[in-house]
Amino acid sequence: MARYFWFIIRSAFSDFRRNKLRTFLTSLGILIGVASVVLLIAFGLGLKKYIAQQFESLGTNLIFILPGNEFQKGGSMSGIGMIGGAKFNYKDVQKLRSIYGVADVVPAFIKTISVSSSSETKPSSLYATTANVFRVRNLEIDLGKVFTESDVKKRSKVVVLGPKIADDLFDNKDLAVGKIVRIGNTGFRVIGVLKPKGGGGFGAPDLDSFIYIPYTTGYMFNPDKNFFAIYLKAVDSSYIPLVKKQAKELLLKRYDENKFSVIQQDEILDTVSSIFNVLNLILVLIGAISLLVGGIGIMNIMYVSVTERTREIGIRRALGAQRKDILWHFLAESVILSLFGGLIGLGLASILVLFVQKYFPAYIDLSSVIIALGVSSVIGIIFGVFPARKAANLSPIEAIRYE
């Protein structure tokens, strides 16, 4: 049995060796198809990973309370639902603190502002919040210090800068601590600069350009004393469902059901990835079309090969080959041809991914390899079976008399 398959494969390879150029050209379609599918999957996975990293960097075990009910439906992140949604205030924060299983509550008032140093003026996002934000959202200090509870109580006019805005305002972030920045007509002392978090691009907020101030100080830009969002940190992940449920019940007493959303990180991730999944599907479809074209190319060449080798088929039949032996023979050839294209395509995609990895976390996982090889074998079988059947059904005498 092993001898039989070895002979079939050996025989297929000797045929390819005699037709190197043709073999290569035929598998080119599969090569391109497999390479594009693998690349698309690699980039899709990379994108998901990138987004997951972004969320991860926000902090773990977080629950978001946002205005509007857009997220709840798992729909788009257009934010349309946020207009006319609930306007949270400090009373909500206090009530949410009393929930069982909550470790921290962080309210956030976010406003786009213009900020100036003595030499520069830059647009930025003001993030007015409590002192625990740095702990909850994994914001690490690089230079100076973060603001404290007492800064919140005293409404201190202090700011903590993201590293990017610090660089932008002061040439070099090392020079920022101790300097004064102006927002509107008010001066604030820079007490700290955060470590870089990344982010930005793909429409995500650039966390490194945020300016953090105590929420009490922030009331000067926020006369209604509202918060755009409130973050809850659960004691650990097992408390998340319980915290969500309690938060919902609590808020329902104060706001209409469709005016707010209580969601966890994963759900936002799901919403985002479902958008990318659709995108991925379209791209994979494009790959599938090139695979189809590649498959037809293989079928075409296999038909040519059957005709060219009619006499060889006749000889094999004269020596005792059964129909199924001939069928196997040609099927093995088309599968090998297709796998050959698939392997080179996979190799090519791997090289490209390796190259791109410096800039983007695209990667090839085991499932891409299985898909690449599986798909090319299946294409080899599907498009090889018709020519192989033609070969198997040739009558021995006609084949051996064929000139």
Partner: protein, 230 residues
Amino acid sequence: MSIIKLSKVYKRYKIDESIVFTALKNVNLEITNGEYVSIMGPSGSGKSTLMHIVGLLDGATEGEVFIRDKNIKGLNDNEVSSLRNTFVGFVFQQFNLINKLTILENILLPTIYSRKQLKFNPEKRALELLSRFGLKGKELSYPNKISGGQQQRVAIARALIMNPDLILADEPTGNLDSKSGAEVLNLLDELNKRDKKTVVVVTHDKEVAERARRIVNIRDGEIIKDSYTK
């Protein structure tokens, strides 16, 4: 003991809707075990057609074919293929070796298609046949790298690898110079005398035909004479 028997065999080819060409007419032929028979006739007389029917490469349009007194009518394609594999060894005018396979692989080809567990070591036997036929050391060469005479001896080795009872040779010297032709014919003699194979040689050449003890003359698809020499 009869090894092959044809009874009232006709072979007709449909040329087009209205024209039917009869290549074999009422052929009755019985060959017994161990015979050396030549089938002689001019080109187009139906010799190859007859040989293909005897070798189970083709079926008769009418009449009966018996292998060892067994009518082959009831056999399916796989059974007929198996008989070709084990019962017959073919030698063709054009050698019919597969050029992309090595000499050794060509000789082994019938063993690959065998459905029964082989009772011998195929590589060992192939190498024995090669050295017997003066082709030692050629096993890894390719057919188009050796002479016509050598190719035909490879084809004979291939015909013998499954140790069949019947060797069918269709114009085995047709593409050879007289010296290599004589070598091949000597080999066929030897297969009959020493190996006790039944040998059937198809030829248009009287000299070739007369090496056999029995000559079957065929003309226009009919056996016109069936006689023993010497």
